[in-house]
């Protein structure tokens, strides 16, 4: 992008974020972070069924092997209690541990890197406000050669660009807010986009659906395509789906989406659901 366009984009972004933040300016950081925590779906992976919040999640089975999402409570020994904000920002944006080792993209830093500095600080404040739990989680159980973590240096070099979200100055604030929520904290692309053979998102087919989603099942497309997407849904129908899970035909969501709605989108403000719907319905099929 030419430098002027980029400068404009940053300005527009600052304006958008200022409007968004204005309403929340009086609330403390942890309270603002709670919304990000919900839409980020941290619980879906880091909390086991019936287990303590964020003290480690149920095993995630993938073609590369089994991941055990770690304890991220503020426990200093078994969680992230000794982390600084800079450590957290680095993990979420660069996908690197405090010692510099790369994380597997099973941790969706591939979307979270788009969070703004302010939002990362608020999210960190919220996570730090939760009760510490002392609990060690098992090591990942991955097949060779995926068990070699240093291979991820190459992967990140090929596929990871750790930039925060840049709003599109040609679009209005509602669209930009939706784009931010979907592409950043909501990490919707991680399930709704096909992946290449190295497990990276195929960005030429963003939101076109995934023939082999989590658990190997098919995940539907969510572009404005009337056949393989949600092009026939109205904006209100989509916002309502994100609130209670009802599709336009009266059926109710299942699969991982039920949890994305229950723990995430149903807890957003109406305005944010409308923003997400506005953005999604503007996406033409690939």
């Amino acid at each position: 992008m030419p430098r002027i366009a980029r400068a404009l984009a940053v300005l527009a972004g600052a304006a958008t974020l200022a409007t968004v933040a204005a309403g929340a300016a009086t609330v403390d950081p942890a309270a603002r972070g709670e919304t990000l925590f919900h839409i980020g779906g941290c619980v879906n992976c880091h909390t086991a069924k019936g287990g303590a919040t964020l003290a480690g999640g149920d095993p995630l089975r993938t073609p590369f092997g089994t991941f055990h999402p770690p304890n991220i409570t503020p426990d200093p020994e078994t969680g992230i209690g000794s982390w600084t904000l800079a450590d957290f920002v680095r993990a979420m944006r660069e996908g690197r541990a405090p010692d510099g080792m790369p994380y597997y993209p099973a941790f969706p830093y591939t979307s979270y890197h788009r969070l703004t500095d302010e939002d990362l600080a608020d999210l960190f404040a919220y996570v730090r406000s939760l009760p510490p739990v002392q609990k060690r989680t098992p090591d990942h159980d991955l097949r060779f050669p995926y068990n070699l973590r240093f291979g991820l240096y190459l992967w990140q070099w090929l596929f990871h660009d750790p930039q925060p979200f840049v709003p599109d100055p040609a679009k209005d604030p509602l669209w930009n807010r939706g784009a931010y929520l979907v592409l950043g904290p909501g990490h919707c692309a991680e399930c709704h986009t096909p992946r290449n053979w190295l497990g990276a998102l195929d960005t030429t087919r963003l939101f076109a659906g995934n023939p082999a989603g989590p658990g190997g099942d098919k995940v539907p497309g969510i572009t404005a395509d009337p056949e393989n997407g949600i092009g026939r849904w109205s904006r209100d129908q989509l916002a309502f789906y994100l609130k209670v899970g009802m599709r336009p035909d009266g059926d109710f969501a299942g699969g991982e989406m039920a949890r994305v709605i229950e723990n995430g989108t149903s807890r957003l403000a109406d305005e944010d659901r409308l923003a997400i719907a506005t953005f999604l319905l503007s996406l033409s099929p690939p």
Binding site: P145, W197, V219, G245, M246, G250, G255, A258
Partner: protein, 156 residues
């Protein structure tokens, strides 16, 4: 070694593609017997939920019918477990084998819908649209979606 990774990934992708195509082909089959009946009952539930939502948000002139719709959902919730005789998930059924592997959890999910819909009938009788809409959200998420989450194939 690199060649091995490539080959095994290609093989995996082809297998995934094949499974996918088979699943596509399955969707063309018309449901029969128990599966057809059960799908029809589920669609009845969907139709009531859609009617309730429409009456609450778009057509207040039909608000008097809310209790009637709510009662249908409640009555049907008591039939659900009997619609799933062991192993009845022949194509094109979207019921997962886990229905029978975790039968007591499945029964609990149906029971949950029964309780929530009973509560919903009472809220609807009180005639406060705001409260009814809130209870509707809970009924959908905890009554319908939470069972679909575990026991129904994803709607790809």
């Amino acid at each position: 070694m690199f060649a091995r990774i490539v080959l095994s990934t290609v093989a995996a992708a082809m297998a995934a593609g094949l499974v996918w195509q088979m699943a596509e082909a399955q969707q063309k089959v018309e449901p029969k017997g128990v599966v057809a009946y059960r799908i029809a009952v589920m669609r009845t539930l969907g139709a009531q939920m859609l009617a309730i939502k429409t009456a609450l948000t778009e057509t207040p002139e039909f608000e008097d019918n809310l209790v009637w719709h709510a009662q249908i959902v409640h009555d049907a919730s008591k039939l659900l477990v009997d619609l799933f005789p062991k192993g009845s998930n022949e194509a094109p059924s979207a019921a997962l084998p886990v229905v029978w592997e975790k039968w007591s959890e499945f029964e609990a999910a149906a029971k949950r819908l029964e309780e929530l819909s009973a509560k919903f009938v009472e809220v609807a009788k009180n005639g406060d649209p705001q409260a009814t809409l809130a209870a509707f959200g809970q009924l959908g998420k905890e009554g319908c979606s939470s069972c679909h989450d575990t026991f129904r194939k994803k709607q790809g």
